[in-house]
Amino acid sequence: MPDIIEVSHLVKHYPAVKAVDDISFSVRQGECFGMLGPNGAGKTTTVEIMEGITSATHGTVHYQGEPMGPRFRSEVGIQFQSTALQDFLTVRETLHLFRNFYPRGMLLEELAKLCALEDYLDRDARKLSGGQRQRLLLALALVNDPVLLFLDEPTTGLDPQARHNFWGLIRDVKARGKTVILTTHYMEEAYLLCDRIIIMDHGRIIAEGRPASLMAHHFQDAVLQLPQEDFRPVRDVITENTKPVGEYVEITTSDINASIALLLSHGVSLAHLQIRARTLEDLFLELTGRELRA
């Protein structure tokens, strides 16, 4: 797939901080590209420069091989992290307002169906729930039937059910062949939706690749979780690769069978044992030494 957007040596300085520090990457047509990092990592600044909302101090962003021009505005859709809408307008009127900004786009009925808004078209947009509101913001980003879609932390603040529903919508959008650039600090979201990701910290890219490849590259092990109470008999025997996490102890091991055998040989109860694969959350911790949502 050809690159739809190419970022080269991007730098953004603010008076007291270097928000983006010489980063380069490209996004391929038709993929879902994830940008991960904690608050303040520079991902929103980077994405706003890519959207043409913020200017870069140095570096370039090329859209379909050319510097961003007037065509870019008509062909992309953007959902910001937080957006207020015009007061006193219904969902239908809000969609109509934004639809009229573009020379071409989707039919409102089709858009409402895609974003599951059919039942709310005549409701005051201020009276929508969190999930309904995010779906309206997604619909506004799709109103021009864009080639490229930017989603900046679209599920932040949603409850788990609304988040899962939203993921389904993003999959539907992706199935229509659109390129999606998604910033998030939900690891699960990135793992489930993204074809490729970059992880940012302090304005730099610290890892880049397919989520599964990154995991395979950095981790060949798994994590055993035991309640602190059950772990007590072997506390002085197994001391390496263990750490307390709340009421549990996590044992990182590359040989699950051997570890379980060792626990059993010391009479440890495995009734509450949990085995989990390493996550992107672990990867971020491994790379930066910090929690992702810190």
């Binding site: 959207e51 043409g52 909302i53 007037p70 505005r73 008509s74 953007i78 910001f80 937080s82 957006t83 207020a84 809408l85 015009q86 007061d87 006193f88 307008l89 009127e93 109509h96 307002l97 934004f98 009229n100 900004f101 573009y102 020379p103 506004l140």
Partner: protein, 340 residues
Amino acid sequence: MIQRFLAVLRARNLEFLRDRSTLGWNIALPVFIVLGMWLLFSGGEKPLFKVAVFSGGAPLISLHNDFLETHFIQFYSAPDIQSAVRKVEHDQSDMLLDLHDPTHPHYWVNESSPKGYILEKILSGEKDVHYTRESVSGRAIRYVDWLVPGVLGMNMMFSCLFGVGYVIVRYRKNGFLKRLNATPLKAVEFIAAQVASRLILIMLITIAVFIGTDLLVGFYMSGSYLALLLVAILGATSMISLGLLIAARVASEELAGGLLNLLSWPMMFLSGVWFSLEGTPPWLQHAAAILPLTQLLEGARAVMLDGAGVVQILPNLLALAGMTILFLAVGALGFKWKND
């Protein structure tokens, strides 16, 4: 381009019309003030007689005229005969004395003015001087007739400054402008739609309030409604543009409120909403002339009270047009979609 402009215009109109509290306030405020002032000042006239004296520039005290010594009459110096006669026509003066040639003194009274009649009787008691009588006729102008352009202009000012300036700052602060900036909508289209929306709505409200209160009170109107409409439209456009200029870059509602108050309060007192600036120091009158509300009220009162046409109020119209262009140009050039 037209499609984008019309979309923003329609959305803004809906937002304004559905905001019942703001809409109600925009209509209720001027109605209350006009009716309140009418009730307040229609009960009784001031006890003092007012006599204008044209002396050709000489101090009144140097004229040594016995009539000018009469108690309970306020004598004031008239700058020229023409405007002083007009004031007698409108009962703003009870009499005009022309004493610039002591050998041929004249006086003017309004045939229908009871005060003019009494003053004439007093003047006829003067044995030493023979005055030539001139009479005029005209309908009396009440305070409410003079006040109504001021109140409607003030309401327009608040609606234009705060209704546009404050709203745009709110749009910027809550990120709505940033969202619009992510579409093909251009700053000039957005600004033009804001100006057009507010202009249409404030003119409709002002016309409705004018007609409604006129039916109750019956205003004095000696000029053409077309000239009045023209000066009102240009006045409103200039003040909307001033609101846009203030809102072009500001992202704090508190700062915007402060700046808008800084503009609106001096305009309310220096532009002649409540009282005439005649008799105030010349520097104050010059300073007031740079305010759009002053130009609007001068033009509107000239049309309503003096019967001025478009040609007579051309200086006011040109001043308002010039301010509009200046405010819009600087506002559009400096316009920012989002906070830094």
